[in-house]
């Protein structure tokens, strides 16, 4: 008699795993659990003891019946009852220890897995995130690990315990009477077959139920959201009919699961009676022939549920195990994804200052490992073709050119979001490939186009630039850009929760936060991707002023979409077709009369 019945959800194709993959997952899991092997051993030991206590009960009953009742000894009856009580209490005590130790070990493992998977994820190169859908990656960290959580909190103990009980019971009853065991065991295969049939049939039936519910709900929702149109055109009758169809379909899908259960559970019940009948019938005959003690028959009856319940429970647990295994396989797949811009062993810190030098860089997207779905991403067309440019310390360079020309890619390579296929990017004479990740981000910071906000206060969001910064430094960064007044005009100043309703920041304000982050990070090189869209006129001016203050005294590479920005820079590089076509100051390029001059002329006309 063990705990509850575990309800696991239906299993769809996504959450299945084949035998070979399952073996790999289990082996790897065992390796991962190695640091916790003591805890695992302790839990296993406790489980064995608990199972032993459970199995001892019927043996004590047998002794009490044979030596006490048949042998007419009252003292034995008392002793047997006492022993049974003690064993039961011990069993409960150990049961408690088992649940606790398995849960603790499992939860520790999950906590480690969560942080490890996430650390791996955030450490991966940007190319990875461009290949993968965000939703799928979120699922790895949420629904997949939750599937494991379900296993840890409910399934695992039950699984191991049921296996132990089944095997243990089989051993014990064989030792008690192999003849009776043989007769009893005959019942197991049909029950097993029925259980497997039930599991498979009910699984597909439940998938059907899931689909029918979702389609019924969407009809319902549409009927409610469109009720005004429905009434305006007097189509209530048609809609009610339509809903009745999906509603009945949901009923049919549900009743099908009932039909399946109606076939299975009576078999289970009858098997229970059949087991008792076989044990009692054969046992009584054997007792009558003095081939068996009556206590053994009693013990057998008590053991019967130990044989039958594990079969039912294990066949149910199968789904939980399958989805957990499939989830683990997906998680391992993610953990195996290599970082294509790794920190090499023996990496050095970048020097405090220096020139940013791009030397003969060639680049194309793709060509990395297949994504977690196994889809290959072959090397795409060449985006940059042997590009060279040196940005001197304190110089501001604008990259201009049509969309898809490669200017954003060049900027990303300058910050080592990717490594070039050929050529090298270096800072102060040190190749970015040889730099430590930390020093790289201390020197070179990328401010993305759109100001993305994290949940939390404005202050938390600015702190992204430097997690160790105290409030004073954050305020100093805000002051440096002249933004204090603006931020303090918000409902709760810097402590305004940015994601809360009512304090939505405008696109321009998000940009301001982004710039404040950069000011706090205080890098020597800033890589800016200018916003393509127009900002609200109110903040546009402020963004420009803050940008001016931020770039003061820093090396700046800006992907410019507006030529006014380019005109303010020291030099302009015109990028097209993966090459730098023109390079020089604004005035020089206008005088040159080439691509830039044409662009500039067109722009001044339209403005």
């Amino acid at each position: 008699m063990r705990g509850g019945w575990i309800e696991s959800g239906p299993l769809d194709e996504e959450s299945r795993i084949d035998r070979a993959a399952a073996r790999r997952v289990v082996l790897r899991l065992a390796r991962m659990l190695r640091p916790q092997r003591r805890a695992v051993l302790v839990a296993t030991g406790l489980l064995v003891v608990q199972t032993a206590a459970l199995l001892a009960g019927p043996l004590i009953v047998r002794w009490g019946v044979d030596a006490g009742l048949v042998g007419r000894n009252g003292r034995v009856v008392n002793l047997a009852a006492l022993a049974y009580l003690v064993v039961a209490l011990l069993g409960a005590g150990f049961g408690r220890a088992v649940i606790w130790s398995v849960s603790r070990t499992g939860e520790q493992f999950l906590r480690g897995l969560r942080t490890r998977v996430f650390r791996h994820l955030t450490g991966l190169d940007l190319g990875f995130f461009e290949r993968e859908k965000t939703g799928r990656l979120v699922a790895r960290m949420t629904s997949d690990i939750d599937a494991l959580q379900e296993l840890v909190s409910q399934g695992l103990v039950m699984f191991v315990q049921n296996v132990l009980i089944f095997v243990g019971t089989l051993v014990v009853i064989t030792l008690l009477s192999w003849e009776l065991t043989l007769c009893t065991i005959v019942i197991v295969p049909p029950l097993l077959a029925a259980s497997i049939w039930f599991r498979n049939r009910s699984n597909s039936a439940y998938l059907q139920v899931r689909d029918s519910i979702s389609s019924n709900l969407s009809t319902l929702q549409e009927g409610l959201e469109g009720v005004r149109v429905v009434q305006a055109y007097g189509r209530e009758g048609g809609f009610i009919e339509r809903f009745e169809a999906t509603n009945e379909a949901q009923y049919e899908a549900n009743i099908e699961t009932v039909r399946i259960a109606t076939r299975y559970f009576p078999i289970v019940e009858f098997t229970g009676v059949l087991g008792i009948a076989v044990v009692v019938g054969v046992g009584s005959v054997l007792v009558g022939n003095d081939a068996l003690e009556v206590g053994t028959v009693l013990a057998f009856v008590l053991y019967l549920s130990n044989l039958f319940e594990p079969i039912q429970q294990l066949s149910q647990l199968y789904n939980t195990l399958q989805s957990a295994g499939a989830a683990l396989a997906k998680i391992f797949g993610l953990l195996d994804t290599p970082n294509s811009v790794p920190e090499r062993p023996g990496a050095v810190d970048l020097p405090p200052s220096g020139a940013l030098e791009v030397a003969g860089v060639t680049f194309a997207y793709g060509g990395g490992p297949p994504d977690t779905d196994g889809v290959e991403h072959p090397l795409g067309p060449t985006v940059l073709d042997a590009v060279s440019i040196t940005v001197a310390p304190g110089e501001r360079v604008a990259l201009v050119g049509p969309t898809g020309a490669g200017k954003s890619t060049l900027a990303k390579l300058m910050a080592r979001f990717y490594d070039p296929l050929a050529g090298d990017v270096s800072y102060g004479g040190v190749s970015l490939r040889d730099a430590t990740r930390v020093s790289l981000r201390e020197r070179i910071v990328v401010v993305p186009q759109e100001g993305f906000l994290f949940a939390g206060t404005l202050r938390d969001n600015i702190r992204v630039g430097d997690p160790d910064a105290d409030d004073a430094r954050i305020e100093a960064a805000v002051d440096a850009l002249g933004l204090r007044e603006h931020f303090e005009s918000l409902p709760e100043g810097l402590d305004t929760e940015v994601r809360e309703r009512g304090s939505r920041l405008s696109a321009g304000e998000k940009q301001l936060v982004s710039l404040a982050r950069a000011a706090l990070a205080d890098p020597t090189v800033l890589v800016l991707d200018e916003a393509t869209s127009n900002l609200d006129p109110g903040t546009e001016l402020e963004v420009e002023r803050a940008l001016e203050a931020l770039t003061e005294g820093r090396t700046v590479v800006v992907v410019a979409h507006r030529l006014s920005t380019a005109a303010r820079c020291d030099r302009v590089a015109v990028v097209d077709d993966g090459r730098i076509l023109e390079l020089g100051s604004h005035d020089e390029l206008v005088a040159l009369g080439g691509r830039y001059a044409t662009l500039f002329a067109a722009w001044t006309r339209s403005a």
Partner: protein, 589 residues
């Protein structure tokens, strides 16, 4: 408090009424439950007798007979169990399904004012989770009834042999029920808190991944890793809290029946030694105790479920008890043929919130006339439009269509002659064709296409992947706001009503495309009474006449130019509308 009790009582009445038509299944279920109980009670008796016969080694013939009898009762038990189960689930599912259909049909017919107040999400919950609560309790009722019968039988059998033994063996078992209840009450908030922590964790994951460019650009990986670690710690703490409770209660729930077995062995054993009980009885009692475990836990579940279900049923009852405010009159007058002459005579109207919108409105649209209603935001323009097809009923005065008060017509007949295009268009997840032929699903394709052409929609529809068969709406191909509005206009055109109402129906249409629709609309409106609620001067220009609405009354009437020339208020309102539009679009003026 009393209101809640009353609601629960109404909820129970609803459940009773909904299960009523299932009486054959209820009867079958109860009968099967009774058979099941009897068979279950008999089997241990037979097993005990067989063991005793074996001990006395009388004759194996009798043992054989007993075993055959046992198997017969086993088959009876299994069969009855199947029937009982099927009946219980069938009644519950049927009840759930019927109530859901009833609820939906009712909601479809409820007046606009109701839907203005209700939130879709809440109504969805009524039709989904609330009904499931009812389903659960309806399943449990017959199952528990049989369980109670079983318990009663076991108690009677045991008491008949020995009261003391019955008390010792069964005395602790009610605690099982109690323990299960306490456990579920304690662990529920912990599980909820755990869910919350998990969703917090997934929040960190989601934003880190969608903001990955920021994270990478600033090298904020460590910061996010730490935030996640903090969340993972919180999840860990909560999970352990739940584990601690499970570790307390689960073994306890398993222990209680074992203690009953100990009592049977001990006290029953001595009764055997005293010759007042057979060894076979010990076996039977063991089986009885095992039989009681689930029923006891189920009673606890039923009590908890009953309270949830009655509250849920009370909420559903509340919706069903709301009568449609807009209903057919007892003796509807047939609508005489006419040009669509529409009059508002001293019409006043206020919304449920109490805001008085119309105050003695006098307005006359001659048959075939197109009138634009212009007014400041909140002046009641949209309300005027919605009183015509009786989406709401007037508080005072009357709306008269071709000489008949709209309240004297059947709602269906009225709405058949009034076509409205709403400001916020709603398209159904269905093909373009079915969306246009909404009012008349059997309309021939030529009519659908003609309607689409008149609404200036044919061009883009033909360019869709599957043309008129393209599935649009929430789960289909997504269209721009202007395209959606044009399909909605086509819908109204196909409806071919006497009175056409365009409630700001071209607001989302790209101004550069608007002239196409205007030409088409002019054709549609030809010889059809049309009420235009409009903001843009271009749309206003479609009308023969403009009426200025202010303070719930028509304050001026005339052509656009006349009003511009004569009415200061008209100029003001138009200027303000332009400002509002500019602000809404966020474009610099």
């Amino acid at each position: 408090m009393d209101a809640e009790r009353e609601a629960r009582r109404a909820g129970w009445r609803l459940i009773r009424a909904a299960t009523g038509p299932q009486w054959t299944w209820v009867t079958a279920g109860i009968a099967a439950g009774a058979v099941w109980t009897v068979a279950r009670l008999v089997v241990p008796q037979l097993a005990g007798a067989a063991v005793d016969d074996g001990i006395r080694s009388e004759d194996t013939q009798r043992v054989f007979v007993l075993i055959v009898a046992m198997l017969a009762f086993g088959i009876m038990q299994a069969g009855a169990s199947g029937v009982r189960r099927y009946c219980a689930f069938r009644i519950a599912l049927r009840t759930e399904t019927d109530l859901r259909a009833q609820l939906f049909a009712h909601l479809q017919r409820l007046h606009f004012a109701f839907h203005d107040e209700a939130q879709t999400g809440q109504l969805m919950a009524r039709a989904n989770s609330d009904l499931q609560q009812i389903n659960q309790v309806v399943i449990l009722i017959p199952l528990t009834a049989a369980s109670l019968l079983t318990m009663l039988g076991v108690v009677v059998i045991m008491v008949s042999k020995s009261v003391v033994l019955a008390v010792l063996a069964l005395g602790l078992l009610p605690l099982l029920n109690r323990a299960a209840t306490v456990f579920s009450r304690r662990i529920t908030p912990v599980n909820l808190a755990l869910q919350q922590e998990l969703s917090g964790l997934s929040g960190v994951v989601e934003e880190s991944l969608s903001g990955i460019r920021v994270v990478k650009g600033f090298g904020a990986e460590r910061m996010q890793n730490e935030r996640l670690a903090a969340r993972a710690d919180a999840v860990y703490e909560r999970s352990l809290q739940a584990a601690r409770m499970r570790a307390w209660f689960m073994p306890l729930i398993d222990l209680l029946p074992t203690i009953s077995l100990v009592a049977i062995i001990w006290y029953g054993g001595h009764l055997v030694l005293d010759g007042r009980l057979e060894i076979g009885d010990i076996l039977a009692y063991n089986l009885y105790v095992a039989m009681l475990i689930w029923p006891l836990r189920m009673v606890g579940m039923l009590i908890a479920q009953a309270s949830r279900a009655s509250a849920a049923a009370g909420r559903i009852h509340e919706v069903l008890a709301t009568d449609p405010e807009v209903a057919d009159p007892e003796h509807p007058v047939p609508l005489p043929p006419g040009p669509g002459d529409l009059r508002f005579e001293g019409v006043s109207f206020a919304y449920a919130t109490g805001r008085r919108v119309l105050d003695g409105l006098e307005l006359h649209l001659r048959g075939g006339e197109a009138v634009a209603i212009v007014g400041a935001t909140g002046s009641g323009k949209t309300t005027v439009a919605r009183l015509v097809p009786r989406f709401y009923d007037v508080a005072a005065g009357r709306v008269v269509l071709d000489g008949v008060d709209v309240r004297e017509l059947s709602v269906a007949a009225l709405r058949d002659e009034v076509g409205i295009v709403f400001e916020d268009t709603f398209l159904f997840s269905d093909s373009v064709r079915h969306n246009i032929a909404f009012s008349d699903p059997g309309a021939p394709f030529e009519l659908v296409e003609r309607a689409a052409r008149l609404a200036g929609a044919h061009g883009f529809i033909a360019a869709l992947p599957d043309g008129y068969d393209t599935v649009i709406g929430e789960h289909g191909y997504s269209l721009s706001g202007g395209q959606r509005q044009r399909i909605a206009i086509a819908r109204a055109v196909l409806h071919d009503p006497r009175v056409l109402i365009l409630d700001d129906a071209t607001s989302a249409v790209d101004p550069s495309k608007e002239h196409e629709i205007r030409a088409a609309l002019a054709e549609v409106m030809d010889n059809r009474t049309t009420l235009i609620i409009a903001h843009r001067p271009a749309t206003i220009a479609l009308a023969d006449r403009v009426v200025l609405l202010d303070d719930g009354r028509a304050v001026a009437s005339g052509s656009h130019e006349e009003l511009l020339a004569t009415s200061e208020r008209y100029r003001e309102v138009l200027a303000r509308i332009e400002d509002d539009e500019a602000a809404a679009e966020g474009s610099p003026t």
